[in-house]
C-alpha cells in the first residue's frame, strides 16, 4: 500500500459509516473527493426487492479489494481511496458498498470511483441473494463466463 495515500478497505456486518470513510481519504492536496454509495433499490424491472443478503469469501475479498484500491491509487494518482462492503442482510435504501476517492482534480476522482465499482462487480468474491417481497430467494451468479481477470 502506498504510504502517501490515505484510506483502507474493509468488510463490515452493520451499517456503513460513510462519513468516516470520507474523512479517512481527506488530504490537503485533494481538490476533489467522490463518494459512491450502492444502495438496495426497491424495483428492478418488475421485480420488487424486499432485502438483499451478501456473502463473501472474506480473506480473498479483502485481499482483492486491497489490490483494487492500490491499483486505483496508482492508475489515477489518487491522494486517497477507501472501500467498504457490507455483508449480511441489507434492506431497501440501505448501503451495501461505499467507495471514496480523493484526487487533485475531479476527473481522476470520478474515474477512479467508477473504475473501482466496475472491478468490484467483476472480480471480488462477494455474492448477493435477492429476496423478494413474496419470499423468493435467488442468489445472483451472472451468466457471463468468469474470466479469471481476478487471478494474480
Amino acid at each position: 500500500m502506498d504510504a502517501r495515500s490515505k484510506g483502507e478497505v474493509s468488510l463490515v456486518d452493520g451499517a456503513i459509516d460513510h462519513a468516516a470513510l470520507l474523512a479517512s481519504v481527506a488530504a490537503p492536496d485533494a481538490g476533489a473527493t467522490v463518494l459512491f454509495l450502492g444502495t438496495t433499490r426497491r424495483h428492478t424491472g418488475d421485480v420488487v426487492t424486499e432485502r438483499l443478503e451478501y456473502e463473501a469469501h472474506q480473506p480473498m475479498a479483502v485481499r482483492e479489494l486491497a489490490r483494487l484500491r492500490n491499483e486505483a491509487v496508482s492508475r489515477f494518482s489518487l491522494a486517497g481511496c477507501g472501500i467498504v462492503h457490507r455483508l449480511g442482510v441489507v434492506g431497501v435504501g440501505e448501503t451495501s458498498v461505499a467507495v471514496a476517492t480523493a484526487a487533485a482534480h475531479r476527473r481522476e476522482a470520478f474515474a477512479a470511483a467508477e473504475w473501482v465499482m466496475e472491478e468490484i462487480k467483476r472480480s471480488v468474491p462477494i455474492w448477493k441473494c435477492d429476496e423478494s417481497a413474496v419470499g423468493d430467494r435467488r442468489w445472483v451468479h451472472p451468466e457471463a463466463v468468469f474470466d479469471g481477470g481476478a487471478a494474480p
Binding site: 450502492g38 462487480k121 462477494i126
Partner: protein
Amino acid sequence: MVVVNLFAGMAESAGTRRLDLEWTGGSVADLRRRIGDRIPAIAELLARSAVAVGTSYAADTDHVPGDADVAIIPPVSGG
C-alpha cells in the same frame, strides 16, 4: 483429504458449505470432475466458477495437493 468450501448459490444448491473429499493429489480439472460427480446439482454452476487453492486462484492444469483447502468461486455479484 481435500476440503472444498462452497458459497452463495452453490452452497444452497449443494445443501452444504463444505465438502470433504478423499484426495491424494491431482489437477484442478480432476477435482472439478470429482466435485461434479459427487453433487450433480452444482455441475452447471461449477463449470462457470473459478477455483482457488488456499486463497489463490488456480488454473485447471494446476496441482491440488492432497491436504488442500479449496474454494469454489461462482460468478460474483457484489457491489
